[in-house]
Symmetry: none
Subunit: 211 residues, 4 copies
């Protein structure tokens, strides 16, 4: 039995790896397919064709179409979590730190355009399970941004604002700009620096001249 376990370990390791690779292949295929046709419009057939697997195999790796989308959201969350670093107010040049955060978020959108498009494009209202996941995604983002706003206000960097509303607004601003660049026509040609600069300017300086 120990032998069997040992062997089993060896085998399961290789098997585990192969399984992981295949899962990744499905995910990558799904990103492309969903980005092109939208999550709801794309069918499982589209995904398995792109991934080069059979119908049944898909369900060996993901419980359902929704489960695949949940995985994509989690993937997106992990990327954006990496991008949004907490700004330490005791460090010098907080504005620069914030700008670097904006840059990293923009970078993430440019580095994972399909994933970003797929996740940001999707809205609530289609599937309760999915809605919950999206709620959690936006809740997560809002909490992070709200935290930054509170932190900034406490340390005298940012003005006191209605944090929930402003956090939501900022998320919407970034989201719309990313989608206009990735999926739409209007900002398709924009580059990272331009988007980052414009988003930073609007966020921190606002529109008024004297303000």
């Amino acid at each position: 039995m120990t032998l069997k376990l040992a062997t089993s370990d060896g085998r399961s390791l290789r098997a585990e790896q192969k399984r992981s690779e295949r899962r990744e292949a499905i995910v990558r295929a799904a990103e492309i397919v969903f980005a092109r046709r939208g999550f709801h419009d794309a069918s499982i057939s589209d995904v398995i064709d792109a991934a080069g697997i059979s119908r049944g195999t898909f369900y060996l790796y993901f419980e359902s179409k929704e489960a695949l989308f949940v995985h994509l959201i989690e993937r997106f969350v992990s990327f954006i979590t990496d991008a949004m670093l907490v700004v330490d107010p005791t460090q010098p040049e907080p504005a620069r730190r914030i700008f670097e955060n904006v840059e990293r978020v923009v970078d993430m959108a440019f580095d994972h355009p399909d994933l970003t498009q797929v996740v940001l494009r999707e809205n609530r209202g289609r599937n309760p399970e999915l809605d919950e996941q999206l709620d959690r995604l936006y809740e997560f983002l809002r909490v992070m941004v709200e935290g930054a706003l509170k932190n900034g206000a406490q340390n005298g960097i940012t003005r006191a604002v209605n944090e929930p509303v402003v956090a939501t607004a900022l998320i919407g601003a970034f989201k719309e700009v990313f989608l206009a660049h990735l999926a739409g026509a209007s900002l398709r040609a924009a580059d990272r620096a331009t988007l980052a600069a414009a988003l930073f300017e609007l966020s921190v300086r606002g529109l008024f001249v004297g303000a």
Copy 2:
């Protein structure tokens, strides 16, 4: 009865009115149903059940499900066009005029919550005809906001910014806030004044203290 005989208009007028009323009833029912379940997830059955009409009657008033959605977009456009007034820079207190504009847009969202939710929630990618309509809606909004930005910059009211990006960002900011209030959980309790104030503050003053 004399009146009834007086004009054959009498009959067609009443008929016209009844037709108009019924069409309105369908539209209202659709707004509610689509707001609750999303346009694509809601079926014609849901709409006709809510409107209390039969299957065939629906197609007497709208050519298709898509045509109904197009009508909702047009309705939304007409409301938002009424709300967004061009700010005359020669008038005193331009900031106040802009704030009033923000207020009116917020009012529109509060006055037509279902319609706003339905239209703002929908994304491109399901139906080419519908995508085009949505493109036109956002193009329209962007052009209006870009125009305001250019106008403000020329008259020394607002700072010079990357207008396409900032316009897109502002639209996204308002959109996300409205959806969070109407469809989501986070801003459900917010009132008009709060949202208007927060959106105005972010837009025109930005976040920085000194800025």
Copy 3:
């Protein structure tokens, strides 16, 4: 009451005439519409649009779509009955009489192209009531042709043949030629004389040289 009857007569006469005219208008419109789109593919809407009447009015003149078709069949039967004259074998030149019959039938098809097309195009299998009418039409034609064949055989003009089969075959020959001319592409340019001559030749002389 007598007075009322008198008046009623006067009125009903005019009314009767108007009714008759309107019925004719519907029938003519139906011929054109059914010829263009086929009976089953054409809708009542198509007919009433072409006739310039309202939906309900149609049902004042015809009980149903099928009843209208039955009327067209009857109209066709009356025309073809006029065309197919019994050939008196005691008269000289029976071949010439037969040829004149063929000519008259061809003339009928050319004089009422829409009606001919509509009636000949339709096949059994869609509607029991309609099937019965078509059965009666073809039964009627077959009986006439069979009669002619028997008559000809008895009088030594035509050869003895399997009358039911040959009658059916002749009907099919004429029908296919008319449809190819009226609805199809292959014989569209053919003229009356050509069709009449070819049909006569085949029918009476057959194909063989010596025969």
Copy 4:
């Protein structure tokens, strides 16, 4: 089991065969259903009920209802192509060869009564794609018959006739006789020999005594 392991072909071969069998079962069911109710009047439900398969399965084997009909036409074409052999005029007894051709065509109609009925019954005017297929069928038949007529005339076997018209007429004659036997009431009891003899007689000898 060794066999099973021997070739991976084994599985795909059996699968291929099963697929083929099922497709055949659908086709046979469709022939019966369409013969009974007509192609347009029969619904997919009728076909799948008769074939004992589910709704979705049908679409695994045929792209659409029309595609199924196209398949039936092709099937019919292949049968009739086999039946109509080109008569070599250098061979003795050309009349006998022609008669054998007629016999083979009649045999085909008797051997595939449902298919023959379905294909011959259908008329143009319902579906553009389908119309084209029917046009091609009749074009094909006409070309074959016209060729035979020209061939016969050149070799002094048949008389010179207006080939397009006579070919059309002959097709109509056979068609009507087959339908009267298969779908109608009048020739239901007729046997192969009778129909073949009568059709041959009419075609080659015509009706006139002396002729």
